[in-house]
């Protein structure tokens, strides 16, 4: 009986602290949403977020926006122009990330694109350049740019950010 208890306790000691490994039966994993993994030299949803974060950082830190204080001017974010070589970029997703950040700041009253009465309008544009190497290398630069105008058409602010993506040489061995 005593031997049995000793053996049981030993078994508990050995298995109790062991960590179980779950999953592993499939090749699909849920990624960390903030991870910047890329399979191709193309933008991912995390890149959209990074772009929106960085360019709105610059916009919100500008002297013009600081001077607004609690005035909360009426702002229209214009339709985003896609000047990249990839027509399938989800510009609406980038647009939504930008408006989410600006609205969250509480600094402006965000108006619809069809609104004709506003204080400022922000025109947004995404563009790209791309180079290909002979061994399958690829270098792509994406740029997001904001240009802010008053109702009278005067440009009062411009902010941009660049995201370079590089793809290494293919390894056939």
């Amino acid at each position: 009986m005593k031997k049995l208890i000793t053996l049981g306790t030993c078994a508990l000691l050995m298995t109790g602290c062991a960590q179980t490994q779950l999953g592993g039966q499939s090749r699909v994993s849920i990624l960390d949403e903030s991870s910047r993994a890329h399979l191709e030299a193309e933008l991912t949803m995390a890149d959209y977020t990074a772009f929106a974060e960085k360019v709105t950082n610059k916009m919100l830190a500008s002297r013009l926006v600081q001077s607004w204080g609690k005035k909360r001017p009426r702002l229209v974010v214009g339709r985003m122009r896609n000047n990249t070589d990839n027509e399938s970029i989800r510009v609406q997703d980038i647009y939504d990330r930008i408006t989410e950040t600006i609205l969250g700041s509480g600094l402006v009253r965000l108006m619809d694109k069809s609104e004709t009465s506003f204080d400022y309008v922000v025109n947004t544009e995404i563009s790209s350049t791309r180079q290909h190497g002979s061994g399958g290398e690829e270098l792509a630069y994406f740029k997001l740019e904001f240009k802010m105008f008053t109702l009278s058409g005067e440009m009062v602010g411009q902010w941009s950010d660049v995201l370079p993506l590089g793809k290494a040489r293919r390894n056939f061995i």
Binding site: T9, S34, S35
Partner: protein, 173 residues
Amino acid sequence: MNKKIILILLAFIIIGCGAKRGTNIDHLSQRTIDDTHPRATLILGHTDLVNNILITNVRVAQVGLLPKAGIDVQNLTDNRYNLEYKIVWRDKQGFPISISNVWHRFVLSPRKIKSFQSMGKTEDAYSIQFTVRFPDDLYIESDKREVESKKMVPCPPPLPPICPKSMRDRVMP
């Protein structure tokens, strides 16, 4: 004698498995975490970065209605580092501000100091959590595991070179 063994084993189970399961503190003090600044928690994502990469010169200031943070990251070595950082803003109670943000990759050449800035995107933003780590995503991890698994497979001993008959004739007449 058996009773003694059982008691010792039970003590192992209770103490060994029970350590650090959860404590009601902000975080456990480690040499990778620096919380000496009242409005910033600085985290190095790997012990290899301790004494090689320094997060320093934290500034938090009010810009208009929003807070702005500036941080420097210094390379203390002659090596080139590929890293990524993330800034999470928190309110006064310590809750993260619910604006999604992502990891940003950067390269730190030898002895270089790089500065980063971020705007707290709401008026509630108060403190930051700044993390620097080696780039990490699903594909980097799976590459690492593949390399490790290849290292673990023992190689068969090299076979003696087989010479063509004509060569053998020349060496051993």
